[in-house]
C-alpha cells in the first residue's frame, strides 16, 4: 500500500494528536497534592466532630442541590458514627441556577450564630422541595431560635461575605459541581453516597490501626 503525501499529512496529524493525548494522560494521572487543613477549613467554617481527628472531611454543598441532599444523609451518618475519629466541615457553594440556595445558606449561617448550624442543615435538606422565604422563618422557629437575633443575623452582610468567600474559594479550586468533597485535603471522586461512606470508613479504619 503506497502512502500519498496526503496520507503522510494525516499521519502527522495522528502523531501530533497521540502526543497531545499522551501528555494530557500523564498530567491527569499525577497524584494531587493535598491542600492544608487550615486553608480548607477556615476558623469561621461550621464544623463537627473531633478537631484533632486524623480523618477530616470538607464538603462544598448547596442546600437546593438534590445530589447534596442524598450525600448530606451519608455525611450525617458518618459524623454520628465516628464522633472521635472524623472531623467534618461545611463550605458553602450555592449554585446560580438554584434561586433559594443563597438564602438557604444565609439561613443556615444565621442559625449557626446561635449554635444550630447542623440542625438547620438537616432541616433545610429535609425540606428541600418546599423551600420558600416563609419556610426559612418557619424552620428557624421550629428550632426555637431567638427570632430577633435570627432576623438580625440573616441581614448581616458579614454572613453574605462569608458565603461569597466560600464560593470564591471553591471557584479558585476549580469546582464545577456540588457536592464536592475533600478528604484529608484531597479531592474525592465519588459518584454515590455509598462510595463516600466506603472510602471515608476505609481511611478512618486505616488511621485507627
Amino acid at each position: 500500500m503506497k502512502l500519498t503525501s496526503e496520507s503522510k499529512f494525516f499521519i502527522g496529524i495522528i502523531a501530533a494528536t497521540i502526543f497531545i493525548i499522551a501528555v494530557a494522560i500523564i498530567l491527569l494521572s499525577q497524584p494531587q497534592k493535598p491542600i492544608i487543613k487550615e486553608e480548607l477549613i477556615p476558623a469561621s467554617a461550621p464544623t463537627r466532630g473531633n478537631k484533632d481527628a486524623k480523618t477530616w472531611l470538607v464538603e462544598f454543598s448547596d442546600f437546593q442541590c438534590p445530589a447534596c441532599k442524598l450525600f448530606a444523609a451519608a455525611v450525617d451518618e458518618l459524623a454520628l458514627k465516628n464522633p472521635d475519629t472524623l472531623y467534618v466541615a461545611y463550605r458553602h457553594f450555592p449554585l446560580p441556577q438554584h434561586p433559594l440556595a443563597q438564602k438557604a445558606a444565609i439561613t443556615a449561617e444565621a442559625a449557626g450564630a446561635q449554635g444550630k448550624f447542623w440542625d438547620m442543615d438537616k432541616l433545610l435538606f429535609g425540606n428541600q422541595d418546599t423551600l420558600t422565604d416563609a419556610k426559612f422563618t418557619e424552620l428557624a422557629k421550629s428550632l426555637n431560635l431567638d427570632m430577633t437575633a435570627f432576623a438580625s443575623a440573616s441581614s448581616d452582610t458579614k454572613i453574605v461575605d462569608k458565603i461569597n468567600t466560600d464560593v470564591s474559594y471553591g471557584n479558585k479550586l476549580g469546582l464545577n459541581a456540588t457536592p464536592t468533597f475533600y478528604l484529608n485535603g484531597v479531592k474525592m471522586d465519588v459518584g454515590k453516597p455509598e462510595d463516600l461512606k466506603g472510602k471515608i470508613e476505609e481511611v478512618i479504619n486505616s488511621n485507627v490501626q
Binding site: 495522528i14 494530557a24 491527569l28 464536592t180
Partner: protein, 148 residues
Amino acid sequence: MDKQSITINRIIFILSIAGVCMAIYVLQSFLRNTGIVCLTGTGCELVRRSPISYPFGIPVPAFGLVGYTGLAILSFLQTMNHEQRTMNLLKGMLGIAIFGICFVSWFTIMELFVIRGLCSWCAVSAVNMYVIFGLVVKSIRLPKKLFS
C-alpha cells in the same frame, strides 16, 4: 480525488480527530468518576451521573470514541488514492455518520427533557457529528458527478 474532495476529506478527518479527543476526555471522566470542565455549569455532572448516560451499561462517550475513530480511519484510508475503494469508504462513513446523528439526536433529547441538564461537550459533539454527516453527503455527491 479532486481538490474539493481532498479538502472535504481533510475537514472530516480533523473533525473526527477532534471528536476522538473530546470523547477520550469525557470518557476518562466517566471511568474515573471525576468532574468535567463544563461550559454549561453543572450540566456535564448531571449528565455524567445519570443512568441514561450508560445505555447497555456502556458510557455514552465510548460510543463517540468508537464512531469518531471509525470515521478517522476511513477518512485516512481515503487518502490512498483508489476511486472504487473511495466510494465504498464514503458509504462506510455515511453509515457511521447516520448512526452518529441518530445517536446524538436521541441523547440531546434525553439531556433536555429527561436528565434536564445539558453537557457542553455532548452539544459540541452533536454539532460536530451533524457537520461530518453533511460533509460526507456532499462528498458522496461529488464523486458521482466525476464518475458519470
